[in-house]
């Protein structure tokens, strides 16, 4: 009862916000940013596991929202629409980063930075614990292929339903399920490999 009431209030707020945006109220967009910036940033951060990339992606997402808000027809909820833009932006930016990192020099820099991420003390702790930890999981999620990364983040971290993820990604529910399973399997294997390495 309580959740349905809050959902109704949330919808009312969103409708008001959309009305103000369509009426050309300049403050309305800033209110929209304030309302969704944390959600968008959180998704971007999970995706990249890097503050600067997450900030750039968040900025890009809201710029796209700003340019497209007039064309928003309300077929899905505003939040779902923003989630969709976030997912697509993250995938596009990740592909762009991948192309930029194709050079040999970039590969060396990336390898060197990765090498620095785990300090000797942390390595010792990891060896002592010999189990998966949050940092490890976040790192491995951030290197999953983009198509699998988004469903894993939305389902296993954000806790969205398969139906909602399908709506966000505009793909059938079966596709979401298979991508999710494949993503989890890849994540599982990557963690297993990491644990085996730390045991050696």
């Amino acid at each position: 009862m309580h959740s349905s009431e809050s959902k109704a209030n949330d919808n009312k707020e969103t409708d008001k916000l959309l009305y103000r945006l369509r009426a050309g109220d300049k403050r309305a967009f800033e209110d929209l940013v304030s309302r969704y910036e944390k959600t968008v940033y959180r998704l971007c951060y999970r995706f990249f596991y890097n503050e600067q990339d997450a900030m750039d992606a968040t900025q890009e997402v809201f710029l796209k929202v700003y340019r497209a808000i007039e064309r928003f027809e309300g077929r899905s909820s505003l939040k779902t629409w923003i989630y969709r833009i976030t997912a697509n932006t993250c995938i596009t930016l990740a592909e762009k980063h991948k192309k930029e990192k194709d050079g040999l020099l970039q590969t060396i820099i990336h390898w060197w930075n990765d090498r620095d991420q785990v300090t000797p003390e942390e390595e010792v702790i990891e060896k002592l614990q010999r189990k998966i930890n949050r940092r490890m999981v976040s790192n491995k999620i951030a290197v999953l292929p983009e198509n699998y990364r988004v469903p894993v983040i939305l389902k296993d971290i954000e806790g969205l339903s398969i139906e909602r993820i399908a709506e966000i990604l505009k793909v059938p529910q079966g596709t979401v399920k298979s991508r999710l399973s494949r993503g989890r399997r890849l994540l599982h294997e990557a963690l297993q490999a990491q644990m085996n390495r730390s045991e050696e």
Binding site: V33, Y45, A54, V137, G159, H188
Partner: protein
């Protein structure tokens, strides 16, 4: 020895599984150490994912987003007004022709040779001679009367010049310049 992957394969199917199928898998996982290990990792993994902490939100996040929107909207989405576009259409040829004219003028000025004007002002010494003071007046008279000089005047002048040469032979045979001493009138002489 090859690791058993039955549990992971089964999880990846993720289709509509019946209760009995699920029970069979759980029974297998209990007996198979590889699958038991996988099941443990998977459970732990999903547990960690669901409890991942929220990231720290940068303080400048809101400002960063709004700055990006401001920059993006100023650049791409700004539509010029009708007056602006008309002014632009008219001013562009004027601007172009002005620039061209300036370049032509500069090019023309560069082709001209620079010739400094000759300054023929007589140098004045600090000591003024009486003859020097008198000469300019005589010259001025002669120049102003040039138009009215007749043949008779010329003959008279030549006759006077010959007489002057006779009285002053040093004109034709000038001595060393150092011996020349002009009559000097000091300022205190008149007092």
């Amino acid at each position: 020895m090859k690791k058993c992957g039955r549990y992971l394969d089964y999880m990846e199917l993720s289709g509509d599984v019946t209760c009995s199928q699920w029970q069979d898998e759980l029974l297998h996982a209990r007996r198979c150490p590889d699958c038991a290990h996988d099941m443990k990792i998977r459970t732990e993994l999903l547990n960690i994912c669901s409890k991942l902490e929220e990231p720290e939100y940068p303080l400048e996040l809101h400002g960063y987003i709004m700055a990006g929107i401001k920059a993006g909207s100023n650049g791409a989405n700004e539509v010029p007004s009708l007056i602006d576009s008309l002014f632009d259409k008219f001013l562009r040829p004027v601007e172009f022709s002005m620039s061209l004219a300036t370049i032509v003028v500069i090019a023309f000025l560069l082709t001209l040779e620079f010739q400094p004007a000759e300054i023929n002002q007589p140098r004045r010494s600090y000591v003024t001679t009486t003859s020097e003071q008198a000469e300019p007046k005589q010259n001025l008279v002669a120049i102003s009367e040039l138009d009215e000089v007749s043949g008779k005047d010329v003959q008279n002048f030549l006759q006077r010049l010959a007489e002057y040469r006779q009285h002053h032979p040093e004109i034709d045979h000038p001595g060393p310049r150092t011996s020349y001493r002009p009559p000097v009138r000091l300022v205190s002489d008149g007092q």
